[in-house]
Symmetry: C3
Subunit: 159 residues, 3 copies
């Protein structure tokens, strides 16, 4: 058992609560000595946008339209009981009140724990997002096969 | 192949249909000789609340508010076409009509098949839920690292 | 490492975007030499219905009602920002504009790459769907234990 354990997460969801779950799993796994890879695709890319608010990203009209509607990290909805975006803010308050790490703190911790974060090439093509639109923590833009190869012998979850 | 196969499920969702899927996988795996662990977090905790209906759980106002709105096992919504909670009831009828085990029966079977059920410490902190609010089948309240360690060499799914 | 790597997907979701993700993972894995199994259950069965539009499938009234409302491949909603079914059509346009394979093309590729597709017996019972209602690419109707046994040593994801 000398081999390092690995955890690989496909971060498909752009929901606030699922982003919390993904980064909690990632940081917990990394802090306990695992090698962790996060592959962000589709709505999950919204978590990584450099601009945390709504921004017209992309060239084509539809790309710009979808990116604006999806928004960035500050616009991640709760998967239920979102109340027009109020709930993620309330929940962050509840996390602070209970001394639980917020999403911002978890992402910062992931970076410090050397969690690898890569973005899905195909989803970026579809949505007209470029690497420049994403935060610097994103180390690479890769295809799904590269991700699968990186995840050999890893436990994988689709979130 | 002397080693026992393992299946570990992160039960994040509190949707009726996904709870059905989780317990179907869990009981199927356990019945065929696998060691099964279910880690309930976030909305998934609603499945395990002692009170099956809506109840004001928690001390802080927001905790109480969210717990009431989320409700318990009788309030799990269908992830689509929920029709204000009517569909889970209709679907349970469809399951009975087709001799398929209902959610209640699946949870009972999981218990008898020695499926391990634990609750996520962090999610309980955020939502102000204590072990006393959960059914007795919940064996422990643990952190994510404990769950990951228990799930070594297991196939894992995030539901 | 002479043993063939395996990927097994539980395709629970009937969302357009998640169907895209499932078939992208499946075809990528198969194209890079992996043995791939897809187990379609619940809403995921809608992707495989022979009739791509809405159809009254089933005998019991409720079965017929749910199947009509869920519809087939042409009715898969986007998990967010669906806009009454407009978005999947817009997104298919964005995929074509960016030379990304559409869902139709991915399903066709999966077939050619020998991806195994099976349907969940229990979900079909509940919803009153028979094998005749599904496309010919569906090789078998199996229970969850059969799927788990087929997926021994596989990386698994629940989508």
């Amino acid at each position: 058992m000398a081999k390092k354990e690995k955890l690989s997460l496909v971060c498909f969801s752009g929901d606030f609560d699922k982003a919390l779950a993904a980064f909690t799993l990632a940081t917990g796994a990394a802090a306990s000595g695992r090698e962790v890879h996060m592959f962000f695709t589709f709505w999950g890319l919204n978590i990584l946008k450099k601009d945390f608010g709504r921004k017209w990203i992309g060239k084509a009209l539809l790309d710009r339209f979808f990116n604006f509607l999806m928004g960035g990290r500050n616009n991640l909805p709760l998967s239920r009981l979102n109340f027009g975006g109020l709930s993620p803010k309330l929940m962050t308050g509840m996390m602070k009140a209970n001394n639980v790490a917020t999403l911002e703190e978890l992402i910062e911790a992931a970076k410090e724990l050397d969690v690898k974060m890569v973005a899905c090439e195909m989803a970026m093509h579809i949505l007209g997002i470029t690497k420049d639109d994403l935060i610097d923590e994103v180390q690479d833009v890769v295809g799904v096969v590269t991700f699968l190869n990186t995840s050999r012998d890893a436990q994988v979850m689709f979130i």
